[in-house]
C-alpha cells in the first residue's frame, strides 16, 4: 500500500516538474497539447497540491507534539506527567484513555458536526493572539467557552466505570444536558493546574 506521504510527495514533485517545463518553454502552450499541459501543470496539480498540503497540516495539528511546540504550552505538556491520579489530563494521558500522540486534540476538539473545523478555528485564534495579541501567562490561559460535557461523554457515556458510579447515575441527566459540568468543584476539578506544577511529583515513565 502506498503511504499518504508518498502520494503527496509525488503530486508535489510532478507539479513542480510540469511548472518548470512551462517556465522554461512557455511556447509549448501555442499547441493544443501544450494547453492541456498548462491546464494540468498550472491549474489542476497546484490546486491538488495545495489541498493535500492543507490536509497534511490539519493532520499535523492533531499531534500532541504540534500543540506542545509552542513555548506557552510547555507547562500543559508537563502537566500530562504529573504523578497524581486526581490530575484529569495526566491520568487520561498516562493510562492511554486518550491516544498519547493526539492527547490535546482528543479532549479539546468538539465532538459535534464541523467540530474539527471549529477546533482548527480556535487554534488559529491562538496563533493570532501569539503573534498579534498579548499572550497571557500559561496559568492565566482559559478556554474560549466553558468545557462541554459532550467531549467527556463522547467516550465515557455507556462505559461501565461511568454507568456504575452512583454519583454519575444520580446526576446523569444533568451531566448529559450539560447543566452540571464534569469539571464542577468537588468532582473532576483538577485538570492541568499548571500554576501548581512546582509542588507536585512527576511520573518518570512519561514519554
Amino acid at each position: 500500500m502506498i503511504a499518504g506521504g508518498t502520494i503527496s510527495a509525488v503530486v508535489f514533485l510532478l507539479s513542480i516538474v510540469l511548472v518548470i517545463v512551462l517556465l522554461a518553454r512557455p511556447a509549448l502552450t501555442h499547441t493544443r497539447e501544450g494547453k492541456v499541459l498548462a491546464f494540468f501543470g498550472l491549474f489542476l496539480f497546484p490546486i491538488l497540491s495545495s489541498g493535500i498540503g492543507f490536509s497534511v497540516h490539519v493532520e499535523h495539528s492533531k499531534h500532541t507534539a504540534f500543540c506542545l511546540s509552542c513555548h506557552i504550552m510547555e507547562p500543559y505538556g508537563k502537566s500530562l506527567s504529573v504523578d497524581d491520579p486526581h490530575y484529569l489530563a495526566a491520568t487520561h494521558f498516562q493510562n492511554h484513555r486518550v491516544p498519547a500522540d493526539e492527547a490535546c486534540y482528543t479532549c479539546h476538539t468538539d465532538y459535534a458536526l464541523y467540530g474539527d473545523l471549529r477546533a482548527k478555528w480556535s487554534g488559529l485564534n491562538h496563533v493570532w493572539v501569539q503573534y498579534l495579541g498579548k499572550p497571557p501567562a500559561p496559568e492565566a490561559i482559559r478556554l474560549f467557552t466553558a468545557y462541554n460535557n459532550r467531549e467527556c461523554l463522547h467516550c465515557h457515556l455507556g462505559a461501565r466505570s461511568f454507568e456504575e458510579s452512583p454519583i454519575h447515575s444520580a446526576m446523569r441527566n444533568d451531566l448529559v444536558s450539560n447543566q452540571t459540568s464534569c469539571l464542577t468543584a468537588g468532582c473532576h476539578d483538577t485538570v492541568h493546574n499548571v500554576a501548581d506544577l512546582g509542588k507536585v511529583k512527576f511520573w518518570k515513565g512519561a514519554p
Partner: protein
Amino acid sequence: MTERRVRIAAALVLAGLIVELTALRWAHPTAFLVFALAGVPFVAAGILVLLYSVVSTTK
C-alpha cells in the same frame, strides 16, 4: 496565451509550491501560517494570471 503571462504564472505557482513544500516539512503552527499566508496566495496568484491569460487570448 501569451508566453510572458505563462511564464509569470509558472513562476508564481513554482514559488508557491516551493513555499508549501518547505512548510510541509515542519510541524509547527508557524509552518501552517507560512503555508496559508505565503504558499497558497502565490499559487492562487499564478492560477489567476493563467486564467486571465486564457480569457484575454480568447477575446
